[in-house]
Symmetry: C2
Subunit: 182 residues, 2 copies
């Protein structure tokens, strides 16, 4: 199995230091963990095959299985049976995972400013940065509804934050497919 030693170290609380930066790096400081959480958070991918086949970056199934196991052990996500299918597992963000939204917002803003992003893939980051903390809070509340089963707010209607970001992404793709004239 992959990562046996590091996983064991984490589970046994054998940390390199008690620094919050270091501890966060120990939890999500690798090439895949944040990408997996991103797909759950912004892409609403909740099943193994969705995460595997929908992965833009092409994660391998053994790595995905390992990361899901580690993120679950860390309490960033949780795993439950999907009642619709005996073999299906559904992965959800925990409150701990949901509160990574501001981290994603800042990372997205930094990456969009300094790295060679594509327009369609950075539109979500752009909108999330522009929306600021109020939008992040709304997004987190939406995630609590879809991932934690929190009761929906009866006073609001229409698409949630994730759907609005997704629609913005699709609008850019559609404009690009139109030949860039519009």
């Amino acid at each position: 199995m992959c990562n046996q030693n590091f996983l064991e170290a984490i589970l046994q609380d054998q940390h390199r230091s008690g620094c919050p930066i270091n501890l966060t790096v120990e939890v999500v400081g690798d090439k895949w963990s944040l990408v997996v959480v991103r797909d759950m958070m912004f892409g609403n991918r909740r099943h193994f095959r969705e995460l595997l086949n929908g992965s833009m970056e092409g994660i391998a199934s053994n790595i995905l299985a390992d990361r899901l196991r580690r993120l679950t052990a860390e309490g960033v996500i949780s795993k439950a049976d999907d009642p619709s299918h005996k073999q299906k597992a559904i992965y959800s963000l925990t409150e701990k995972g949901i509160e990574l939204v501001p981290v994603f917002a800042m990372i997205g803003a930094w990456g969009s400013k300094w790295l060679p992003v594509t327009e369609e893939l950075s539109i979500r980051a752009k909108l999330l940065a522009e929306g600021g903390p109020p939008l992040w809070e709304e997004f987190m509340d939406d995630l609590r509804i879809t991932h934690l089963g929190a009761p929906p707010d009866p006073n609001r209607s229409g698409p949630d934050v994730r759907e609005r970001l997704q629609a913005a992404y699709e609008a850019v793709v559609a404009r690009q497919a139109g030949g860039g004239r519009n």
Copy 2:
């Protein structure tokens, strides 16, 4: 040499995707890069030996050399000769590196809330989160002075943000050493 393939891939702009989250993960998504930048940013460690011997987490010299090389190639830090010593190199944050401050603030806040941090090592993260964007801006301006040689603001005096965070850290350590009575 370590990481030859990944380094080459980065330098040749062979990215897994154009997503800002993914690209950021490709740049700093490993167990050491953010720790090195943290020590430069908050600990004002500018030389190889300072980073090596001062490393709380115990980085190995070959890994440190590799990360400094990669971060330099990515433009997050820069390297210059230290005029005081023919062999001494001085590493500085670039503007790209300085603008990681909000990312560190969010990561620090998340880590402090959800991970087993120690009090003395999380006081900086706590103050940075409480200070919010105005404090981050002040901190970045200070870093531009010390790392980029920007002209100091003649209207302000007293310790800069890093020094104030450091003093807060030392105050906690002193209180702890006093037996926790105060």
